[in-house]
Amino acid sequence: MNTRRFDALIIGGGGAGLRAALQLARSDYKVAVVSKVFPTRSHTVSAQGGITAALANVDDDRWEWHMYDTVKGSDWLGDQDAIEFMCREAASAVYELEHMGLPFSRLEDGRIYQRPFGGQSKNFGGEQATRTCAAADRTGHALLHTLYQQNIARRTQFFDEYFALDLLRDAEGYCLGVTAMSIETGEPLLIEARTTLLATGGAGRVFWNSSNAMINTGDGLGMVLRAGLPLQDMEFWQFHPTGVAGVGCLITEGARGEGGYLLNRNGDRFMERYAPHAKDLAGRDVVARAIAIEIAEGRGCGLHGDHVDLKLDHLGEAAIAEKLPGIRDLSIRFAGVDPAKAPIPVAPTAHYMMGGIPTNLHGQVVAPAHYGPEEPVPGLYAVGECACVSVHGANRLGGNSLLDLVVFGRAAGTHMLEYLRDNPYARPLPEDAADPSRARLARWDRRGSERVTAISDDLRRTMQAHCGVFRTDAVLREGLEKLSELEARLAHAELQDTSRVFNTARIDALELENLIGVARATLVSAIHRTESRGAHTREDFPQRDDGNWLRHTLYSREGDQIDTKPVRLKPLTVESIRPKERVY
């Protein structure tokens, strides 16, 4: 196998990977970014509403209030040290993006424009705050392009359209790089690096109805599972309240932040019943459940009663054109509705994975080893949606994911520099390190009777039916049985197309292997957690159970093993925010 050698290696060219790359590019170390798509095609580009930071440009604000809201939003499953760190660093991370050239929308006085978002409050649960910094409704696009541009300026080495296969580790557990494959030529490649960062994003394509790009297939999670490392809190998936009905494309929470609201078939503003105070800007899990209940109880809109209406026309055409131009475009194209004239049909859509690869707040991947549940895996880092640090806990607040990317991307990049300084020499790579990857690729040259597309479709339908907004033990277990059947079918799957050059069918197959791992982790973790918290709603266990479940789930592939570890309730410097009932 051809081999390339770098000091630092980043897998993933989205916001988190590019922010980390930038931190490393400012040093003399050799850095490479591997991305299965050209970096600006990464899913960060789809983020609409904004990035949250308590700049107080519009209204009073403090990072402590942002921290309170994030802890409450997480339903107390978020680690308070990581949340404090993120909210403290938020303002500087946003200013830094502005200095890099991000074209934020502006207020009259020339400062960065901010809009209200769900779950935001002043003064620890008081009035609505205005905290989310925006570039119209294309903030992710603006952020991703800006970070990519900065990386071009610093001549970061990119491996575009290379698909990462597996982590390389030695007997002592050090991560020494990855195996990858050029999509264009089909050639495998071994990339050695003293330190590796996974920034591979989410896996929302595991659901049928998803806001996620087709590339969101949990590749980093699959790599971690195959390396025998655990995944954390995989039962927690955010269903965004407002996907375009029947399509899944996202309508930003910013649409409600700018004054839009939801209506059922009777024309009721039903969120007033579910969240009397915050109404349409309650936490996303709360709004998504409310919509699901309205639909289930026969108050959905449309011929089939399968969605609710998002009303925006009262904002006026000018405001919609200025603040929500992209949304208007999407709505006209995918729902056939101009929101300046008529309401947009919306329904919950799988959107964000709160769980992921467990890390500490330096982005180091942590796993149970010799002394405790949180020992760093030497040389291995993870940030962004693929990671679980955990700042989002059981439910992420809107605007916190872009923030997570840049804050922890920067922190991980900084820590990787320290790691490189402390570990100046590359460790020898075991001779057989790439064997599992070779076997994995060779497996897809075998003949079989099943097709990858059919299994993928069935997987997504299974997860949609068995692991959606509302869950019960019986439904989850049935889902797990169906998943086992899908795994059996996968073992007999074949590729019709065994060519080398730009064989996307082969990539689809490798992605399906990763998705199946994600699905199993999700179902097993969801069965195990016998309480309702944040986005994980168990109809058979409707209450939050702090006595038993103020704990993170750790899933390992070997024997579907579940461990837990306590939530970190102690912040870095401020008082702990004690669990209480979560009402909006």
């Binding site: 789809s46 200013y95 074209p103 934020f104 597309t453």
Partner: protein
């Protein structure tokens, strides 16, 4: 529906050919990408790029009935049959609908697409008035899909020397940014018979931009800045 797809696999040694495909699909509410993926589900040897499927990532630009478009936001109901789908023109074809985008990216990089401001960084944001910010509207939204540049005859003739509409629109995005200090250098970089002035105002770029942007207007503004600094 009837489709005619450009097929080419470099490994077979066969010449590129047009493949007739009949697909059972109800066009209402569906996009061209849905049809291409349904065709790929039957015959997985068809190769194409795709990701966001909502017109923001710029992966799936193809030539449809003679016009460059994003497959994911092209309604099937709009298309005359047989729907002829080819790779973007003017770039080397790697396979089927997948082109080598590097000549396009190289021109993008050549305009130094990053903000230059060497003033000491304030501890907060640099201020920009809403009016100055509004100058970036219509420029920063570019998704680098290459629909415009590969529809431009000037780029077809001079892909190595003409920046092309997408690159020039991005050059303008930084020239127009009140925070950027490198306007003079950016104009120097473009004052060249080929890099900028190969634009003949054909305006194919404006016709095809899936985001509704107007590179020709941006090129016009760069030209007038160049004229202004002469006199």
């Amino acid at each position: 529906m009837k489709f005619r797809l450009y097929r080419y696999n470099p490994e077979t040694g066969a010449k590129p050919f047009m493949q007739d495909v009949e697909l059972d699909i109800e066009p209402a509410g569906k996009m061209l990408l849905d049809a291409l993926l349904a065709i790929k589900a039957q015959d997985e040897t068809l190769s194409l790029r795709r990701s966001c499927r909502e017109g923001v990532c710029g992966s799936d630009a193809v030539n449809v009935n003679g016009q460059n478009r994003l497959a994911c936001i092209t309604p099937l109901s709009e298309l005359k049959q047989p729907v002829e789908v080819r790779p973007l023109p003017g770039l080397p074809v790697i396979r089927d609908l997948v082109v080598d985008m590097e000549p396009f990216y190289r021109q993008y990089r050549s305009i130094k697409p990053w903000l230059v401001n060497d003033a000491p960084e304030p501890e907060v944001e640099r201020l920009q008035s809403p009016e100055d910010r509004a100058l970036l509207d219509g420029a920063y939204e570019c998704i680098l899909c290459a629909c415009c540049t590969t529809a431009c005859p000037s780029f077809w003739w001079n892909p190595d020397t003409f920046v092309g509409p997408a690159g020039l629109l991005q050059a303008y995005r930084f020239i127009a940014d009140s925070r950027d200090e490198a306007t003079a250098a950016r104009l120097d970089n473009l004052e060249d018979p080929y890099r900028l002035y190969r634009c003949r105002g054909i305006m194919n770029c404006v016709d095809v931009c899936p985001k509704g942007l107007n590179p020709t207007a941006a090129i016009g503004r760069i030209r007038s800045l160049l004229v202004k600094r002469r006199v």
